[in-house]
Each structure stands twice: as C-alpha cells, then as structure tokens.
Symmetry: C2
Subunit: 623 residues, 2 copies
Amino acid sequence: MQFHHHGYVSENPRVLPSPGQTVDSASVPETADVLIIGAGPAGMITAAQLAMFPDIRTVLVERRPHRLILGHADGIAARSVETFQAFGFAPQIIQEAYQITETAFWKADPNKPENIVRAKVTADDPTGISEFPHLIVNQARVLDYFAEFAQRAPARLEPHYGWETTSLEIAEGDYPVVATVKNAEGVERVIRAKYALGADGAHSLVRKAIGAQHLGGISNHAWGVADVLATTDFPDIRTKCIIHSSKGSILHIPREGGYLFRTYVDLGEVPEGDDGQVRKTPLEEILRKCNAIMAPYSIDVKNVAWWSVYEVGHRVTDRFDDVPTAEVGTRTPRVFIAGDACHTHSAKAGQGMNVSMQDGFNLAWKLAQVLRSQSPESLLETYTAERQAIAQDLIDFDREWSYRMADAGSTRGSAESIEDFYVSTWEFPAGFGTHYKPSVLTGAGTHQDLATGFPVGRRFKSYGVVRRSDAVPKHLGHLAEADGRWRLYAFADKAPAGDAGSKLAQWGQWLGSEAGPLKRYTAAGADVNSLFDVKVIYQQGVHDFEITDVPEVFKPANGPFALNNWENVFAVDTADDIFEGRGVSRDGVVVVVRPDQYVAHVLPLDATEELSKFFEGIFLPQN
Amino acid sequence: MQFHHHGYVSENPRVLPSPGQTVDSASVPETADVLIIGAGPAGMITAAQLAMFPDIRTVLVERRPHRLILGHADGIAARSVETFQAFGFAPQIIQEAYQITETAFWKADPNKPENIVRAKVTADDPTGISEFPHLIVNQARVLDYFAEFAQRAPARLEPHYGWETTSLEIAEGDYPVVATVKNAEGVERVIRAKYALGADGAHSLVRKAIGAQHLGGISNHAWGVADVLATTDFPDIRTKCIIHSSKGSILHIPREGGYLFRTYVDLGEVPEGDDGQVRKTPLEEILRKCNAIMAPYSIDVKNVAWWSVYEVGHRVTDRFDDVPTAEVGTRTPRVFIAGDACHTHSAKAGQGMNVSMQDGFNLAWKLAQVLRSQSPESLLETYTAERQAIAQDLIDFDREWSYRMADAGSTRGSAESIEDFYVSTWEFPAGFGTHYKPSVLTGAGTHQDLATGFPVGRRFKSYGVVRRSDAVPKHLGHLAEADGRWRLYAFADKAPAGDAGSKLAQWGQWLGSEAGPLKRYTAAGADVNSLFDVKVIYQQGVHDFEITDVPEVFKPANGPFALNNWENVFAVDTADDIFEGRGVSRDGVVVVVRPDQYVAHVLPLDATEELSKFFEGIFLPQN
C-alpha cells in the first residue's frame, strides 16, 4: 500500500484523494458517462472499478430502496477472492466468511439403505489451483465491500437507491443512451448516458431493450432451499456435503458465523403441466424431506433466516451488447448486459455471483480506457466476444452438475461419479476455467515456452518473490490493485543488475524511450506509471544486488515531489524461485497482464517491436 | 468469527449487538464506572476493552479537540500486533503498515573513514519469536482502530474530545473519584467515578494527584528527529538502519506508504547548563548533519511531515495506583496510571506505545471483573505489582540501548557491539520479555514440564491446529478475542474422543459439574462459556475422530436458540503437531490463559482441586 508521497496522510489511507467531484445520492443526475442499472455483484464491481477515475461520471441506479439485506448468493470462488484482493478487501472478507476446505460425500448405506453413511471426504482444492480460499459469505456483504471501495475511491461514488429503470433507448448524439427512471413516489427522471450497463437481473429490462435473446429453459426438477439455525447429531454439519440417500439428495453448505447453514433439498421431478405448483411447497415439507434424507441423523430447526422453492433454469443470452451479430464492425456497442441478465442457472454450483463479477471486471476497465481516450471504441467489442463464451461454458457446466445432483439413482448421479466430476472439473467452478482466445487483447502464445506458468489468455497466477527495497516477501500478483493499470512483469536475464548491456537493461531503455509505450500512451502530466505498472524480477536473491544499480525506469518518479517509487523491484525467493515455479526462461521474458488480471502476452525481452505492435492494437497515442 | 446465532446478521458482523446504552459524545456524563483520562494508546485500549461490557459505564475524556492527527510513536512490536489480532484489526493494520524484516548496520569505512559502508544486515526476528510481523505505522492509525473497535462494541463507546482534566481527588462513597474537566469554552463539569485511569502522558496530572513519584532524569544527549520525503542514492532507504559514522549516529526508520522515512540524528553531548538551548536546533542543521553522517550518500529532502529535537529522558514512577506501598493491603486502589504517565524514555527502541498498550490491556479486564462482581477488589492490586516491574525493565533496557546508540566511539557503541546487544536482547523489544512472577494470578509453575512451550507467567505463544468441525487450519492463539474471557486450553490424553473413562472426559465432567468453575463462576442466565472459553485439542488428526463423540461440555449451547458451538474442538496438524511443537505431555494438560493472553497456570488434567483452589483466589462464586 503506497501513500504519503503527495504529503502526509493521517487518516485511513484506503480513502483515496478526491477532487471532490461527488454525486448527490439523493437525486439522479441528468447525464452520465456510464449509467449502471442494478447494484448487484456485476453492477457493483463495475461501479467500484469506474470510481477509481474521478474524470468519469458514473451513475449507478438500483430499484431497491436501500442496500441489499439478505442476498441469496453466497458462494465465493477463489478467483473472486483473488479479485477482492485487488479491491483491497480480501483479508477482511476472509475474516468473516466460512472457508470450504473439504467436501464430504454421503450415500445410502449399502447394508441399511434407509440410512446414509459417509462415503468419502475430498479436499476442496486438491490441486492447489489458488493460494486464496473458497468462501461462503452473504452476497450483501460482498456488495457492502464494493460499495465501501467505491465510496473511498477518487470519484466518491454512491449508488442511487430507490430508482427503478422503466425504459431504455438508444438515440443519437454524445449521450445516445436515454433511460427513464422512477422512484417510489412516482417521480420520473431521464438520464442520458454515453454508455449503459444492464446489470438488472434475470428479468432484465435492458436485455429486452437491446433485443437480445435469452435462450434455454427450465428443467423439470425442483429444489427447496433454506438458511437455518439448528441443533443436530449430523457430524458434518459444518462441512460442505453432497448427500445422496435412498430418499433424495441434499446439497449442504455451512454458512459464515459458525452456526447457520444452507440446505438445498431435492424436491424431485416436476410433473408436466405443474405450472409452478411445486413452488408452493411449504417450508415444513422441505424440512421434513431434509430430515428423511438425512436419517439416521436429524436436524432440529430453531430459526429460519430465508427459504424458497425453485425450478432449475439454464439460459444464456445470444449477445451481451446492443450490436446484433450481423452488424459487428459496422458500429461499436453503447449498451451492455452482465450477470443474471445474460446467464441464469442453478445456484448450487455457486457460480452466479462469481461469473457476474468477472463480467463487470472485464467491462469496466475497457469503458474507462475508451472514455479516457486511451483506446478506440472498438475495444468494447471484446466484451461480448470474451464473456459470451464463458457464459456458455458456465451453463454447460451447470447443466451437467445439476443433472448429476438430481439423478442420484443413475450411474451418472452416483456418489462416485459426482465426486469424479467434481474433482476433474475443479478448475472451472473455482473460477479459473476462463481462457480467452487470441484477439486484439490476447497474444497468440507463440512464445509461451518462455513462461509456461503464465498461459496467455488465462488469469495471472501469482507466485512468491521478495521485494528488494525492504526484503519483505510478497505474492507478486497480490500487489495488482484494481486501478485500471496494465502490468508489465519484466523477468530479467541472468546478468547483474548494474550491467547496462543486459537484455533487461536494453528493454528498460526501450521502455522509457520516446518510442516506448510509457511515453507514447501515458497521458501528458500524469505519473509515468499511471497506465503501465512495470515490475522487474531479478534472478538473484535479495542481498545479491543493490537497488541503486537497477535502471531508473524501474523506479519511476511519482507524485508532486517526484519521489522514486522503489517498490517495483523484486528478487527471487531463493528457497522457492519464481523462475522455476512458473517455468520462466533464464533469458528473461515480459509478461503483459490486463487490468482484470488476465495474461495478454508473453514475449522475449528483445521482441520490442512485437510488443509495440501489440499495444498499437489496443492503445491510442497520447502525444 | 461467530455470529447469526441470535438470528440473521446482514450488516458488518464486526458491529456487535448493543442494548443501545450509548454515551453522548458531545457532553460529559456526571458519573462513570470507569473514567479514563487521555485517549492515547493506554487510554484507548482500556476503553476498547471495557466497551465490550455494555453494563459498565466507561467515560473517556481527552484534551485534544479531535482524533490524533500526527502521532509521534510509530513502532509496533510483534506482541502489539498479536494484541491487535484479539481486537480484530491485525490483518487491516498489517495491510497499511511498513514491515521491518531486517536491520542494516552501517559503520565508518575503515579505509575511508569519512564514508559509511554497510557492515552487516541481520534479520529482525532471527529466532522466530512470533508469527506476527514487526511494523511501523502512525500512532494515529492505531488509535483509529481502537476507536472503531470501541464504537462497534456493545457499549458503543466514543471518546469525549475537547475536555481537559483540571483536578482529580479521591473522596468517599460509591463514586469516590471526583474529577473536574473543562472544555475550550471554559465550561467546567464534575465527573464522579468508581475508578479512574490516568493515561494522560508524561506530564500526568493524575500522577501528581495520587502523589506518585516520577524517578529518573534527562541524559545529556540530544537527538533531532524528522519524518521526511526525499530522493536519495542511499541503497537502504527502505530498510531499518543503525548508522555509526565518524560524524555521528543515525537511527533510520522507513515509514508506511512506501516513501516516507524517519531519521533520528545524533546531535551529540549537551553541555552542562545548556538549559534546553539544544532544543532550538533548526531543522536545516538536523538535515545538514544527517547528510554529513550519511556521506558518501545524500538525501535531498522534498517535504517534512514533522520534526523535533529532544533530550533523552529515562523515568519510571514508584507506583501505578493511589495506594502508597506502606498501605498496600489496607485498602484497594481506585485510581491508576498507565503509559507515559508512569514510564518515559527515548523513542528509539520503539517501546513507548507498545508497553503503554500492554498496561491498559492488563488493567482493563481486571476492572471489568471487579465491576461485574466476578472478582474481589483486591484483584486490582495486581496491576501495580505486575506492570511496575515491566516498566523498570523497559527503562533499564532503553538506557542501555540509548547509551550504545549515542556512544559510537567506544567499544560499547561499536557497530558489532550494538548488533550483539540487539540480537541477544531481541525478545524484550519485540514485547515478549514480560514474565509475571507467581501471584494470585500466576501459578507457581510446578507442572511446567507438562507444557514446556507455554511458560507460566509469559504470553501464550500460539501454534497451528486444525478445527475439527470444518477442517480449517487455525492458529490457536489467534482465536482469542479481546472479550474479557479466560481461556482454558484442554490438551487431551491419548484416548479416543468417545472414551468416557479418558482423563479428558473426566476433566470435562468435573468442568461442567456443580462444583466446576463454569457453573460456579459464570453469572446466572449468561451463556455457559461467557467467562471461560474452553477449547479442547485432541492428539488425533482431523479425520481420526468424530465431533459427535466429543463430550457435550466442549460444545456449549449458545444464544437464544441454545445452538451448540462446535468451533472449540481441535485436532493436531499431523504435519506439525502442537503437542511436539509446544512440548505438551501426551497424558494431557490444562493451560489456563488470562484475558490479556498471559499463561496463568499449567496443570495436569486430574489436578481439578488445584485448579479449583487457584480460581478461588481470583473469582467470586455467582450462585
């Protein structure tokens, strides 16, 4: 965490300096650069990210008259915790969340089929795919943390609660998106925006307004779900369980705080023509069925925080913006949809909130770069291109998962089969299945062999290093903040730090030159590292070179006093070398990472022309 | 973190339920159970701890009209971070602090004595005395976190800023302490209190009011100190340094935020009869001297956040309460002093804030137990008995440290000698030198061999275990919250969890019996674990026993729904067994730990009579 370089900071350094351009949260403004409709996970992360830019006017309207009180989503994949780290609240949310370390599989006792027995317990992250935990925490708290981030960010952004969006159209002019909003008193206001995001849920008005098709349907299987406080003799009440008994199935999820748990109870096949009758199943019936499935154990429910009955739906929208496929390339998108507005599915794989947040994280920095004239408008076409494929993967995964959960009697639904599926597909539900294809934003992977542990198109997987300036061990990826900056990780060749002829020194010289990306793409007057956050990792240990020998370009002058930033120079942890751990070439390599933490390119240090060309496709020259 | 067991919690679970008994912070009340004078580290931690008890009326008055803006203390020993963990803000403060991992020793270059050279770099915690880091962070932020804790605690306590205490007397009656306070408008108010704490600094009015003597004096050595932003070619600018050049000495401390650092510059011997003239040394002279000492390197100062000149003083007060030594035992104390009010010394060993907080942490739970009729008033005599010895140790350490720092020319002040002293005495400045002597609160250590890693009288040193209910690895000591509860760590004998004849099961039976401490000392109507937090650690691994086999007394019913608390049962980490790591007997043992985290007793499981007797000296029967 860096501060004091603009002068002494006495109060909470997480409250960032602001030019005071705050939004009055009691009324709604008439114009916005970005109008976000819906303060759920997708809308909130987008608002939080955009709030880092006080020169962008972001307006977030939400129908609810207040913060979310009881959210229904609660599963937080490790990829989301990694994202929270960038927003500065990973330690805090881990502190209050339930942490999933294991899944217990229970099945009918072969000797006494009316009872369940524990079949197996498997580790939740058997392959160590992330150093972050898998959490369960109320969606309302996730939104609270994003709201706090947005409020402390330079734009001092706060949601406008209590405004329902009643219409949205795309017209002409500088502010072509025209939305009408209405509050509880019936007051109507028109907001004109350059861009709009519909993060307005499964029944999205924005989706309909842009003519996108929500494809798929509802399956014929129903589930009851309840968040309960209970006493019990079931030994795994604080463990995630998948229970397949002779009387049906339960997905059991312990919740944060040590006592509460959520039970998903299989209500069986829904007859043809049921027409939603199953949704009238009373709570008592769900709890009775729950107890029947869990025999010989019982749960004695003392308090119910929330409950519901739902039928499983699997739907994905054909496009995520207002440009029909046939018109792509003829005009650039103005309106986007994200989260449940473009993909709905069962809650049980714990994916909804996670994928929705990644939608918003993907879109927000792109909007910022276009609005700040750093990138052409065509950059926004990559949103649908990247996220629509992920949504389809999600729906496919969820359909398979749901079928297996509901089909306990078959081979596919056996405890063993579910467990195999769970372990073999683990990467996807943890949030690490995303692999963007080569595009303007994603290199071809021609030089992938130079850094095998940083696959192009996938999220940058962190590794331990040691900061040279203070010898503090750091996880390299955890230093990436949600500040909209691109990361250039320069892994040095073997030469000593002071060797002016080294490949790294040569690369550094190019980097800081007139032709280099720092001068070419960074706005005049801004700190030289305000668009590209350059970090250098030497092959030597922390005491094997002096930071004063490191080229100046890696210690950029920051703030009004032009103080050198010494926190971008790293040594290897000699006991656990990142070059070994991530398969990084000893000849050095540059790993380019996008603001949303995906590896955009891997290039040798001397491939400066190739890197220049790659950036030309993304950025607009500033000078 | 536990919640939801009183019903669903939607908002930040760190804001604890409150009966609404809040204090109006704009005026001051006429009576208080505890009046705290001074909102520095000692006063704030005391207030934060007492705020956990809504039935105790705590009033904190502070002369300053607002929160502290720029504190001069900044060193946070690992013991303090351990304490912050109990107050729930260790992860947050680590996030924003500078972390000291090394100290670099610089000396005059033997070949070119006008220049300095790096002599050696030593690890800051070479022996691994704590799993917590050694931090540097502005005192104001420490106070902010305590204030936030107090405000979120059940008493919803907030400091009364802008009230200076002008007199304090001890009279008769239920509220014998009579203090007069005055605000900036000259409005005077009288506050009558049962107890008072003078945490009012080196010039303490309370100290004078109780007739305590501040013994010691000012040495004849002066230092200039400045918090600066600068550019430099000194390679260790982000490392803690002890610099002994031919032109004098510097203690160099990097600060939080990546850029700021503090330099303590030796201004040399102060002539006899100087009469404070040295304190008029201008900033320019300090910075000139700093540059002279650091040659051949230079610092180019761009901004100064704060600076001062001081002479080193070493003073300790003869007693820490209002009862003169000759009268101890004839009456119990009503007024206490803590922090700088009873020990002043140089800032350079980074001890002041740390020892002051431990003063308050020591006193607060004792006040709570007496005010809540859980303990006799004589418990309060242990405050002076315990803390006065620590203060003397501190002054002795600081005097030696200051002499060595200032005496660079001698053998004692050589870089090698300083380094040896530093490494050999490391335990003390890290905050772990405290070793309370046998007393009513501290057992004799007769059974110390049963748990060699938990020395009686010293702070409970944490170790890794695995929670049985959810298989989450936990640091046992980090679960201890600043809730005023005593911890009973029951280490089981080898028998399986379900063995009713095991020593642990027998101990559990006694624990929950009519004669046991839970029923005897816990207030009627309160949760059975509201005074004693009992945690059991089995010798088996997490999958080697069922939590349902663990005796009920270890899964206490909590809250209005009488839900079993399953989070007090632990397994060993089979890869790093606490029984091995802390030398715990395989026959089982009970480790008793006070609310301020000091080991009070170590006893075999069958020594229930000895434990009963020990508790009789501390607690009053409730039923």
